[in-house]
């Protein structure tokens, strides 16, 4: 069985400070992991993905995430928040078996304070 937990439903940070969005997963097998972003009134966009290559994954807009098997985590980080980062972020897990459906976390809404 697989599951994904986004530990915070809302995160607020000041512009220019670091961002940390937390995600823990549960998977019986080696997972593929993704982060998606959804800006208001826009479709989902892939930020980055982990598929058993390098454990530190760099994505678009300065975001990165580190796969930590020992902690079953895939937290999303960014060194310095920008106002345009305000959006909802979804962590996604999928078993590395092509026939499996994927599991979305409930999302974390990121607020950027001026």
């Amino acid at each position: 069985a697989q599951s994904v937990t986004q530990l915070d439903s809302h995160v607020s940070v000041s512009e220019g400070t670091p961002v940390l969005l937390r995600c823990n997963y549960s998977s019986s097998y080696s997972p593929s992991l993704f982060w998606y972003v959804q800006h208001p009134n826009k479709g989902l966009q892939l930020l980055l993905k982990y598929t058993s290559a390098a454990t530190l994954v760099k994505g678009i807009n300065g975001f990165e995430a580190e796969f930590k098997k020992s902690e079953t985590s895939f937290h999303l980080t960014k060194p310095s928040a920008h106002m345009s980062d305000a959006a909802e972020y979804f962590c996604v897990v999928r078993r590395v078996n092509r026939d499996d459906k994927i599991i979305f976390g409930k999302g974390t809404r990121l607020h950027i304070l001026p």
């Binding site: 026939d99 979305f104 976390g105 409930k106």
Partner: protein
């Protein structure tokens, strides 16, 4: 290149009516997913098509919901006898294979009055 498209972009209907939502995936993508996102909620998986395999319907909330994928391409999500709780944004995504990156359409916003 062309992405995933969905139509209509907005649909307002009366309670009890049937609605059809359409998804055109990226050409060549064998996997197609339907999700919905209710106000303030995360994404909810509905159904998954992969090639010629039987679809995974485990996410459909009731027998009022059904979906088809014709010729391995276009998909239609049908909701019969709509209820107010069906109001949501319905998102379609496609991927090259079942485990690959999904590309999302812009969604259809369904409002049931």
């Amino acid at each position: 290149g062309a992405g995933v498209s969905q139509s209509p972009s907005n649909k307002v209907t009366e309670k009890g009516k049937d609605v059809e939502l359409r998804c055109d995936p990226i050409s060549g993508h064998t996997a197609l997913y339907w999700y919905r996102q209710s106000l303030g909620q995360g994404l909810e998986f509905l159904i998954y098509f992969q090639g010629n395999s039987a679809p995974d319907k485990s996410g459909l909330p009731s027998d009022r919901f059904s979906a088809e994928r014709t010729g391995g391409s276009v998909s239609t999500l049908t909701i019969q006898r709509t209820q107010q709780e069906d109001s949501a944004v319905y998102l379609c995504a496609s991927s090259l294979g079942g485990g690959d990156t999904q590309y999302f359409g812009p969604g259809t916003r369904l409002t049931v009055l």
